[in-house]
């Protein structure tokens, strides 16, 4: 099925030109990076922009690097880049675990992580992981640069704090500064590519600090502050795991849709939290399992 709406396409030479274009056309303009969501929306006539601004020419938005003790993921870094980055594998392997579960290879080679949070669908995989690391989205607009903490980024399904005319240039993930380990748990209907029915990101930092975030069980990716508080400073006993799982369910507001009933989502959040915490703790203790498994499918070897 062809795209039936007409629009202009520009690929400006400089970032400031792109910003000017976006500012001038406001809501009529759309940023085009990987395009894996946008092209689908154009086809389904969910959006009808006048102008697409292709930002793929900007080298400074490419790649993944380290700056100010944070991992910086450029707006053009694809999920494949994340998956294959030695830097990510070494510093923040949780991102790798998450990226490996996003869509399929053919989509990951195009889809960008920053684009994923700009689309901001409730089942967005990057959201929970960015949440547990307190990531910050870097934005440029006609009035200069802004930094938006991830906690303030998602406003609702497909709604972000990005204003018309602005462009998300990167997301910075501060290194926690102490020993840490995590686990990304994704509930899907298939072992192969699928959108999340629910997802949980778990991060444990040395000193028994726990962070949890959830995807697809609320309008946006959310943290679990009460569960985090419950866990804080404690060692993970079987009883505590049970309790954390139960409490986590109270922190989310799952709905019933085509992918799952809210009842299943709630039940699975409990299981996911338990398994995620256990796996992260084991990783923190240096006992594995290696990143890259989905504990909803695979038993830790």
């Amino acid at each position: 099925m062809s795209i039936a709406c007409e629009f202009d396409y520009r690929k400006p030479k400089t970032l400031s030109k792109a910003i000017r274009l976006l500012a001038k056309r406001g809501r009529q303009a759309r940023v085009l990076a990987g395009g894996t969501d946008l092209v689908g929306w154009l086809r389904d006539a969910l959006v009808a922009p006048d102008l697409l601004v292709d930002i793929k020419g900007f080298d400074d938005l490419k790649g993944i690097g380290v700056k100010n003790r944070a991992l910086v993921i450029g707006a053009l870094a694809t999920f494949s880049d994340v998956l294959e980055s030695d830097l990510v594998a070494e510093k923040l392997p949780l991102f790798r675990e998450m990226a490996g579960m996003v869509a399929s290879n053919g989509v990951r080679n195009r889809a960008t992580l920053v684009g994923n949070i700009c689309s901001a669908v409730p089942c967005c995989d990057a959201g929970p992981v960015l949440q547990v690391y307190n990531a910050v989205v870097h934005v440029r607009g006609p009035n200069g640069k802004r930094k938006i903490p991830i906690g303030q980024w998602f406003l609702g399904p497909r709604k972000t704090a990005l204003r018309p005319g602005e462009l998300a240039t990167s997301v910075a993930v501060p290194f926690p500064g102490k020993k840490h380990a995590g686990c990304f748990v994704k509930l899907k209907r298939y072992r192969g590519e699928d959108l999340a029915q629910a997802s949980v990101a778990v991060l444990i930092l040395a000193g028994r600090e726990y962070r949890l975030a959830f995807g697809a069980v609320a309008p946006i990716a959310v943290r679990g502050p009460r569960t985090e508080a419950l866990l804080k400073g404690k060692a993970l006993s079987p009883d505590l795991l049970e309790e954390a799982g139960r409490l986590a369910v109270e922190e989310v507001v799952p709905i019933t849709d085509i992918r799952s009933t809210k009842e299943y989502r709630a039940l699975m959040v409990e299981v996911m939290v338990r398994r995620g915490l256990k796996t992260a703790a084991s990783r923190l203790a240096g006992k594995g399992p290696a990143y890259g498994i989905n504990v909803m499918e695979e038993d830790a070897p």
Partner: protein
């Protein structure tokens, strides 16, 4: 029989090179030049409504629009077995997605934009999606005119109801059978609708040239049947069979979805409307879900009587099918089940009622398995449960009742030779039946499941096949048939059959896809019958060719024909061992005599096949007296299933399927059918189902939410087992196997699930979600919300199978 050289060998597919290089062309790959027009179809947004007005004036004004066509332009009906459909809806739409009009334009974007400008005014009517309502008193009638529709003689519609067909089979006396039983058990099973999901969407190009020739390039399993349906539907316009030509290049998967005629009729009509220019209709993935055929949903009640020693005394099987808005093909699915819903067992007393019900959902139709997968889910679940109640091993119970050659079938004819017991034994041994396995994981359990299956091709008694064969100068062969290569390896198998007769290796035989002007007749490639039917025709053609060749050699050299034989593409002679005449030396140019003249000439042959022993003349009240089915293919299957008690997730550790194919013409291709079919079947068990809103809209018409298994979603191990009890009337003893491989799958999972975690689920699919919920005592049906996943919204136990209308 002497050892065979080509039949029974795992030859490489003759079309594989074309497929791995991208050389294989599908309809959408053909070029029609800059004059090609594109159609966009305007569809009904309502499940049931009257069409009050269609205003196409704005659409017609869009530059690039060539024609806008509506039901007024083609007031003709069509249908394979029941003529209940208009080419475009006329005054009434009966399902969401039904074609109401079409815009033909110079390019697809223009067509799409203009289609949005066609203004259709509807008067929405109440709709009926639920079987209970459709069969209720004062039910809203989907087809008030049903009694006036023409249909095949073996359909029995009930006027002024939504019952489009009712197949009744009665054998013995079921009431007596239940009285004789030591135990009688009944329960209800439900199966939702499914989609075929061939990766190639339906696409067809039609061209009506200025000389009055209508040519269609169609992605179809049924070129001749399409031509016939087009000719019948378009007869009022003066079109005859000779004016219509259907060409079918490679087809990107069919599974029944490309059998018969569904959206293809639109292209035939549009071609007439834009005489002179080719016009393409290509379905989007969404239309693919909405408006081709779907596998019908069914609710089934099974009552089984059994003696303590395990003998089944009676089966009463009542099935109500949600056939959708049009049943022109789907009613025959219902019919097929109505004849065979005992499964592969000897049952003295049988009562089957298979009822085809109109609803305001998209049309049902053929789907790999043709109704058998649906009823086997209930029946084979029931078999396990009954065995448990009489404390008999379920495999032993099946073995005890397994049908054997010569047994009387539900409709009175007799069972063909079959290796069911052998299949049961081998499949059971392969999964180490009876040996409990423990998972290494504390939250997982392992269970084993077992099920048998059978299926016969559902075809009219005169579903015939034919073949042409001709030699080329180098001694290579062309076979021209109209069976369709839909992936199953048909072309290769036909080559192997001819090869066996003529000793020409399959690699030197070209078998091309059909063109109704050039290739010999074939009814349709459905029902797993072409290896058998068309194979017989090819064998007959090869034998005719052989006789002609021997005749030429005999005439020139004077050898007795009985002494002549073929070896490695040579004619040899037993009485003269040094005689060896290469085929290529004479199959075109003949043989030179001592006088210098030539005898013989280009060798070609033809063969035909008709299942002459079949008939559809059974009594409408009992089905006794006819011989509606040619033969059954039987088999047995087992799986080892690991279930995660916390998440409900299931993993098939091993799947085994033993099937009696009579003779595997190409064992490797039989194994491909087993692996592919099992994975497709397991998908219907574990993952897939079509969901509707209460307004009749599909909720998952895409691969995002109606996903099919990926390369990661397959069993850890699949073991195909080939059983060969020859089919006497099959080519070299072969019978069909394509559909059978998915029939057992759903019951396998259901039975293994019960074995693993003690849960008996009686409605498909058996998703992880459903399992996890039910393991915690939450009934999925209570929480699933207002999605219409099944043909009956209430509690299946409360479903009344016999209301006034259906009794």
């Amino acid at each position: 029989m002497t050892a065979m050289k080509f039949v029974g060998q795992s030859a490489t597919r003759i079309d594989e090179l074309a497929k791995v290089t991208g050389a294989a062309q599908f309809v959408d790959d053909l070029d029609f030049g800059p004059n090609l027009l594109y159609a966009e179809v305007v569809e009904s947004p309502h499940a049931h409504a009257l069409i009050k007005r269609i205003d196409a004036s704005r659409a017609k004004k869009v530059p690039g629009v060539v024609r806008v066509v509506t039901g007024k332009d083609f007031p003709y009906t069509f249908g394979l077995y029941m003529q209940d459909r208009f080419i475009f809806a006329r005054d009434r739409v009966r399902f969401v997605g039904e074609q109401v009009a079409a815009v033909v334009a110079r390019d697809p974007v223009t067509a799409r934009r203009a289609a949005r400008l066609v203004k259709v005014t509807y008067e929405p009517l109440p709709h009926v999606l639920d079987l209970k309502e459709a069969l209720g008193e004062d039910a809203l009638l989907v087809h008030p005119d049903l009694k006036n529709y023409s249909h095949c003689p073996w359909f029995f519609p009930v006027a002024d109801t939504n019952i489009a067909h009712w197949r009744k089979t009665r054998k013995g006396d079921v009431e007596q059978g239940f009285r004789e039983a030591d135990m009688v058990f009944e329960d209800t099973y439900t199966v939702p609708r499914y989609a075929h999901c061939a990766i190639e969407p339906h696409v067809i190009v039609g061209q009506y040239d200025l000389a009055g020739r209508l040519t269609l390039w169609s992605s179809s399993q049924s070129p001749y049947t399409q031509r016939h349906v087009f000719a019948e539907a378009l007869a009022p316009l003066g079109l005859k069979h000779q004016d219509i030509r259907v060409i079918t290049p490679f087809v990107g998967g069919g599974f029944g979805g490309k059998a018969g005629v569904s959206m293809e009729i639109i292209a035939a009509a549009l071609a007439l409307a834009v005489k002179g220019s080719p016009v393409k209709v290509r379905w989007t993935r969404e239309q693919e879900f909405y408006n081709t055929y779907q596998r019908q949903g069914v609710i089934a009640r099974i009552k089984m009587g059994v003696k303590k020693d395990g003998a089944i005394t009676a089966i009463e099987h009542t099935l109500h099918w949600d056939a959708g808005a049009y049943v022109e093909y789907g009613a025959n699915v219902v019919n097929a089940v109505g004849l065979s819903a005992t499964g592969p067992y000897r049952v003295p007393n049988v009562k089957i009622d298979s009822v085809c019900v109109y609803t305001n959902l998209p049309p049902g139709g053929p789907y790999r398995g043709f109704g058998y997968s649906e009823f086997h889910f209930g029946l084979e679940s029931h078999m396990n449960r009954v065995a448990k109640m009489i404390e008999m091993d379920p495999v032993e119970f099946r073995r005890r009742n397994a049908i054997r050659e010569g047994d009387t079938l539900p409709y009175g004819a007799h069972m063909n030779p079959c290796g069911l017991v052998e299949a049961i034994d081998k499949a059971a041994a392969e999964i180490a039946w009876g040996k409990k396995e423990e998972s290494t994981s504390p939250h997982k359990a392992i269970g084993k499941g077992f099920a048998c299956f059978w299926k016969a091709p559902a075809m009219p008694p005169n579903a015939a096949s034919a073949a042409f064969l001709k030699f080329n100068e180098d001694g290579s062969l062309n076979i021209s048939v109209s069976g369709m290569e839909i992936g199953q390896g048909f072309l290769t198998v036909m080559a192997q059959i001819a090869a066996e007769v003529l000793t020409v290796p399959p690699g030197r035989i070209r078998v091309e896809t059909p063109d109704t002007d050039r290739n010999a007749y074939e009814w349709q490639t459905v029902g797993s019958h072409v290896t058998w039917g068309c194979g017989n025709a090819v064998k007959a053609a090869a034998e005719e060719v052989r006789d002609k060749m021997l005749q030429v050699v005999h005439r020139v050299h004077g050898f007795a024909k009985e002494d002549l034989y073929f070896e490695d593409e040579h004619v040899k002679c037993r009485s003269k061992p040094d005689f060896a005449l290469p085929f290529k030396d004479f199959v075109i140019s003949g043989i030179q005599t001592p006088h210098g003249n030539f005898l013989g000439g280009p060798i070609l042959g033809s063969g035909m096949f008709m299942p002459e022993f079949t008939s559809a003349t059974g009594d409408p009240e009992t089905s006794q007296g006819g011989h509606p089915n040619v033969h059954y293919t039987v088999g047995a299957a087992g799986i080892v299933l690991e279930v995660d008690r916390e998440t409900g997730k299931m993993r098939v550790l091993k799947a085994v399927l033993a099937v009696d194919v009579g003779q595997a013409i190409n064992p490797d291709l039989v194994r491909s059918q087993i692996v592919g079919g099992l994975v497709q079947g397991l998908a219907t068990a574990l993952y897939e189902d079509i969901r509707y809103s209460l307004e009749g809209k599909l909720l998952n018409p895409n691969f995002t939410d109606y996903k099919i298994p990926t390369a990661l979603d397959i069993p850890d191990k699949i073991v195909p087992i080939i059983i060969e009890v020859a089919q006497p009337d099959g080519p070299f003893g072969a019978r069909g196997v394509g559909e059978h491989t998915m029939i057992a799958a759903a019951a396998l999972v259901a039975n293994a699930l019960e074995d693993a975690v003690g849960l008996r689920i009686k409605s498909l699919p058996l998703t992880a979600e459903k399992v996890a919920l039910e393991l915690r005592g939450i009934r999925y049906d209570d929480v699933k919300g207002s999605t219409m996943g099944l043909c009956f919204m209430g509690d299946p136990q409360q479903y009344a199978f016999f209301t006034k209308n259906s009794k």
